[in-house]
């Protein structure tokens, strides 16, 4: 029982990692109807940026905030400069550009920073009151941050005019333009926000998985699964999906098939769920007008 609880809670902790990247994926999807395969690498790069700032002497929170600002700008710039020329091209063309971006970011990070792992500080002191024998302070803090992000994103899309405009642009760019929405800037904004979410996710992940250019590879796969499981149109789904994937992975490994093929088992289960609910657990079903 003890071990089960341990595995469960540790699964929630890693699930928090997946959830935050899944949230970034959903953000970009909501804004642009594209899944950004380079999301993980962007998050990794932002985390390196924060690390560089801290090496240069900035305090954790100063570096944190500065990184968020820079990531926001970078996301918007990438959208305007790199994605804009191919916005209206076939979706596969866009996917290849994302793949190219992924390679570039990973390779440049490796070139600048090397491939050794680096430690990254956690803002949650190890002896905080909320630390307990099942979860470290950082793990509790990370889950809290993820949930906070979720609430912010949800509120943004649901209650702000800007969020509404973003959803409109994603669904029907032409009509949105006719109504007067500056679609170009909205798309850039979407990317900027997603980059910010990714940066937070990266800075939450690094204390646990250690910082190196390849840190996001494994996480992105699970995050992708989580986003799809929850439904690409639902931020809540992404977060719940993340936690489910994290726990499933741990339990499958500890109790069902052993650690060798737990990834496969977890993915099979997710696919099974998708077959029952093809748009994900919380996604809205898409109806095509003939």
């Amino acid at each position: 029982m003890e071990n089960f609880l341990n595995q469960l809670l540790s699964g929630l902790a890693t699930g928090g990692l997946y959830a935050s990247i899944a949230l970034a994926l959903v953000m970009i999807y909501q804004a642009t109807h594209h899944v950004n395969f380079a999301q993980g690498e962007l998050a990794m790069f932002s985390t390196f940026l924060a690390w560089t700032l801290m090496q240069a002497g900035f305090s954790y929170w100063a570096a944190f905030l500065l990184t968020l600002v820079l990531s926001f700008i970078a996301g918007g710039v990438i959208e305007r400069i790199i994605i804009r020329p191919i916005e209206d091209k076939p979706v596969l063309t866009v996917v290849v550009v994302f793949v190219g971006l992924l390679f570039i970011l990973n390779s440049v990070a490796g070139w600048i920073y090397g491939y050794d792992i680096k430690s990254f500080p956690s803002p949650f002191p190890p002896s905080a009151w909320y630390a307990n024998r099942y979860m470290s302070a950082h793990e509790v803090g990370m889950i809290t941050v993820t949930l906070a992000l979720l609430i912010l994103v949800f509120a943004f899309f649901r209650f702000t005019p800007l969020g509404l405009a973003m959803r409109a642009v994603a669904q029907n760019p032409l009509s949105s333009q006719l109504v007067g929405i500056r679609t170009g800037w909205i798309l850039a904004l979407g990317w900027g926000l997603a980059s910010v979410i990714g940066a937070v996710a990266g800075m939450m992940a690094a204390p646990i998985v250690y910082l190196d250019p390849n840190m996001m590879g494994g996480i992105l796969l699970y995050a992708f699964a989580a986003a799809l499981l929850g439904g690409l149109t639902s931020p809540l789904g992404a977060v719940i999906g993340g936690f489910v994937v994290g726990v499933l992975e741990n339990l499958a490994g500890a109790y069902v098939v052993g650690t060798e093929i737990k990834l496969s088992v977890a993915l099979v289960i997710i696919v099974g769920v998708l077959l029952l609910r093809p748009s994900g657990l919380f996604g809205r079903t898409v109806v095509t007008r003939v």
């Binding site: 341990n6 491939y115 050794d116 992940a205 646990i208 250690y210 494994g218 992975e249 650690t259």
Partner: protein, 402 residues
């Protein structure tokens, strides 16, 4: 008459020229009076790219030798190609090095599946596959693949040494094992279990694996803890090793005895875990630790540090200086080439490499020398245990045969 004399002269001169070529040396492709061409493939990109400092050390050492006049007057031309740790790419790049760049031999290639992929090709073409950078013992098979040779101690030897240590020092240990789910893991796991013999059944309480793509290994550590282990052998490397040590300390406290493989002990690999958690960690070693003040006056270490400053200054950080694997391996290669003298045929080089007796390299620990023979293709199989005391690694006990 004149024609006859001219003909004789031509024959004589030709004879002299040919004779001179003979006197200069016997060469296979890649070797000449002025140059020895070595080839390697390395994972410059991809998940194992954290090992690239080792290749830079090799290149740096050859650069130093060249600056000092080369090996028997010949400069070493070291060509390294990226294979991204993908076996089909290794095959392609190796073929290119052998068939297009015409190297004399393949040296120090990294990885296990990568080396396995090119083993039949190189053995078929009788090109030496020397001093591969991996401890895999299943890779090395002197009977079937006589041209493929290891260098660093095999993972098997290391496991056996650790097993022997545990049997003598902590015979009632309850051992939990975490192993990477590939060659690296099984090459540690199976010899370890074998070396424990009958006691394996009672001593080993749990074995769990992890995949290199797993973001964390906390779940696995939890399983080992639940099984009641008080001694953990973490057969992991790179990030997983760091995470495993960190999680193990979090879960098991400071009384948990932890072992990690030698290849995971570089500061660049486990440094981020933090000295607090690393205290008490144990592993093995075959070389002197250049960052340990105990060796500060050792001439070999002084030479090494001077070399680092000049040839691989980007490694002038505590983390990388502590791991002289590339340097020592390249030293061994140069020693073999030196001993081959002017007979730089592939056959002779293999012969030299497989008949090393008590060859001392300055950075090897006292009591450890290179030894090879027709059925022993691992030059190093004696290791010494070391323990991290909170600041640095300290040697423990005496060298043990693996």
């Amino acid at each position: 008459m004149k024609g006859f004399i001219i003909a004789c002269a031509i024959v004589a001169l030709t004879g002299l020229a040919v004779g001179r070529a003979d006197a200069a040396g016997k060469y296979d492709p890649g070797a000449s009076d002025t140059e020895i061409k070595l080839g390697t493939t390395w994972a410059f990109s991809g998940p194992v790219s954290s090992t690239s400092p080792v290749e830079r050390q090799m290149a740096g050492y050859f650069a130093m030798i060249n600056d000092q006049g080369g090996v028997n007057g010949r400069k070493i031309n070291f060509v390294a190609l990226d294979d991204g740790y993908q076996p089909p790419k290794t095959v392609e790049q190796t073929r290119r090095l052998v068939e297009q760049d015409k190297v004399l031999l393949m040296y120090g290639q990294i990885g296990t599946p990568t080396n396995v992929a090119v083993r039949p090709y190189l053995n078929g073409k009788k090109v030496p596959q020397l001093f591969v950078t991996t401890g895999s013992y299943s890779l090395i098979d002197p009977k079937k693949y006589p041209w493929t040779m290891g260098f660093q101690s095999s993972y098997a030897a290391e496991s056996r040494v650790i097993a022997r240590y545990i049997l003598t020092e902590k015979p009632n240990a309850k051992i939990g094992i975490l192993y990477q789910d590939d060659d690296f893991g099984t090459d540690h796991l199976n010899p370890f279990l074998e070396a424990l013999g009958d006691k394996a059944k009672t001593m080993v309480v749990a074995k769990v694996s992890y995949a290199v793509t797993d973001p964390t290994v906390t779940s696995q550590i939890l399983s080992l803890k639940a099984a009641g282990a008080d001694t953990l052998y973490l057969m992991a490397q790179s990030r997983a090793a760091a995470q495993a040590v960190s999680a193990a300390r979090d879960q098991g406290g400071e009384n948990l005895l932890l072992f990690i493989p030698y290849v995971a002990t570089a500061k660049s690999v486990i440094g981020p875990v933090g000295d607090e958690k690393l205290k008490g960690l144990m592993s093995t070693d075959s070389t002197k630790d250049p960052t340990n003040p105990a060796w500060a006056n050792d001439p070999a270490v002084k030479d090494y540090l001077a070399w680092v400053n000049k040839y691989v200054p980007e490694q002038d950080r505590e983390s990388d200086r502590a791991s002289p694997l590339g340097y020592v391996s390249a030293q061994a290669m140069v020693e073999v080439l030196k001993r081959a003298g002017n007979d730089l045929t592939r056959e002779n080089i293999l012969k030299v490499a497989t008949s090393l007796h008590n060859v001392e390299l300055p950075l090897l620990l006292p009591g450890i020398t290179l030894n090879t023979s027709a059925d022993n293709y691992f030059p190093i199989h004696t290791l010494q245990l070391k323990r991290y005391d909170g600041t640095r690694w300290q040697l423990v006990g005496k060298p043990i045969e693996g």
